[in-house]
Symmetry: C2
Amino acid sequence: MTTPEITPAADRELVLTRLIDAPREALFRAWTEPELLKQWFAPLPWTTPHVELDVRPGGSILFVMRDPDGNEYPNRGVYLDVVPNQRLVTTDAFTEAWLPSEKPFMTAIVTFEDEGGKTRYTARALHWTVEDREAHEKMGFHEGWGQCADQLAALAARI
Amino acid sequence: MTTPEITPAADRELVLTRLIDAPREALFRAWTEPELLKQWFAPLPWTTPHVELDVRPGGSILFVMRDPDGNEYPNRGVYLDVVPNQRLVTTDAFTEAWLPSEKPFMTAIVTFEDEGGKTRYTARALHWTVEDREAHEKMGFHEGWGQCADQLAALAARI
C-alpha cells in the first residue's frame, strides 16, 4: 500500500509552558469549574462574564469574553478528551457534539504534570493551517496566554 | 449577554437512510470489523484493501481505497463517539488524537435503530462549508453511499 505522508504539526502549533507552584488538582479545577474559570481565563482588562462547561468528551463549552468597552464575544467549542487532573482537549471545530462550527480554528491540548513538587502546565494550540497559526501568534498568543497563565497560577495557589 | 447565532447545519449536510433487513448488531460489526468493512466500504469496482480501526473515542482510522487502475488512496480519521450497535461518529478533521488533518472535510454520524423488525440505517455527512457539501454531492455522495449501503445490506444479511 501507499505510505501516506503526515505533515508534522509543529509549524501549525503554538505552545506555552510554565512551572506553577500549585497542585495539578487546583489547576484542573480552575480549568473546569465555571466560577473559577471566569476569574482567570481572559487577559485583564478583558473579562469572561459567562461560562458554561459540560466537562466530558463530547460535552459543550460556551464562554463569553467581554472587552473593556463592554462588547461581548461568545465562543463555543467541545471537549474531545478529559482526563481528570491530567489533560483536557478542546476544539472550536464543533459548536456541540457533533455540529461543525463556522470555522475550525484550533484544538487546545492542556496538560498538568507533577514536577519537583510543582506542576508543569503546558498549553498547546494546534491549528489546521500555518496561516491560522501565524494569525494566532500575531493576535498575541504568547502575551495573552502568558498573562492568563499568570492569573491562573495566582488563583490556583489560593484555592 | 449576546445570544450567539448558530447557523443550522442543514445546508452543510448530506443524508442517506435505508431500512435494512438485518439486525443492528450485524450492521455495527460490518462497520467496525476491518475484515468486514473491506467487503462493502467502497463502491465496486473500487475496493478497500487495507483497513485499520481503533474503535473508541479518539481512536484512529485508516482505510485505503483502490481504484480500478490500482491507484491507492489512503484516508485517515478519528472516532469522536462510539455507542455499540447504535452510533458511530467519525471525522477526517484529525489524523490521530488530536492532530489536525490537512483539511477538515467532513464528520460522519452513522446510526442504527430498530424499526419494525429491521434496522433503520442513517448516514449523515456534516461539512464545515456549503462548498464542501456541494462538492461532496457532485462527487456522487448519493450514488456512492447508496451503492455502499446496498453492499452493506447484502453483507449484514449473511453474517
